[in-house]
Symmetry: C2
Subunit: 87 residues, 2 copies
DNA sequence: TAGATATTTAGATAACTGTCTAAATATTAT
DNA sequence: ATAATATTTAGACAGTTATCTAAATATCTA
């Protein structure tokens, strides 16, 4: 995953909001959706971008899909950013 | 400046390249342009986005405009990012 | 097997973005 | 003043993106 892709995934307010929510706890798509004024298909689109950037994972549990942060990737991205800014 | 705006400014490979160059030394638009296969107007567009995001400054010195990193803003953004990822 | 619930996929559309060429502006030198 | 150099601004265009509605898929329950 390139740094550009990651920055792009992070550059949308809705996606940032999704990540902020998932920092607190894992949530289903429906639960996440209640926090934004967009339709579920639009939300699904954002979830897919975050998944493609490897920032989150979705795990089906019965009828719902539970989303969670990929903490290790988060850590890695954080390090890349610090490196980018500090060097 | 919002974090979204900053991420957006950072999400383009050309703009990342410009920042990498300016980390080394201040440069004029023309000097920067030599490192990329885009026209000067396109480059100017990217410089403007970085300026709007407050990541760089341009100072006219006679016939040329010398661009430099806004180091304090860079520092600040770096801290915001760390906070975003760590909390 | 139906029906209900949760989520995604498909397809359309308006807005945004990166790029270009041509023209404009600013400065310097003759 | 005129010409040359450096950079930006204006306007157009193709590709991408965020959004929507409608339909499809997956799971659970009766």
């Amino acid at each position: 995953m390139t740094l550009s892709k990651t920055f792009n995934a992070l550059s949308d307010p809705t996606r940032q909001g999704i990540l902020e929510l998932l920092k607190k706890k894992d949530m289903t798509a429906g639960e996440i959706g209640k926090h934004f004024n967009i339709t579920l298909p639009s939300l699904s689109h954002h979830l897919n971008i975050l998944k493609t950037a490897d920032l989150i994972s979705g795990l089906r549990q019965g009828q719902t899909i539970v989303y969670s942060l990929n903490l290790s990737v988060f850590e890695e991205v954080s390090k890349s950013l610090i490196k980018f800014f500090k060097k």
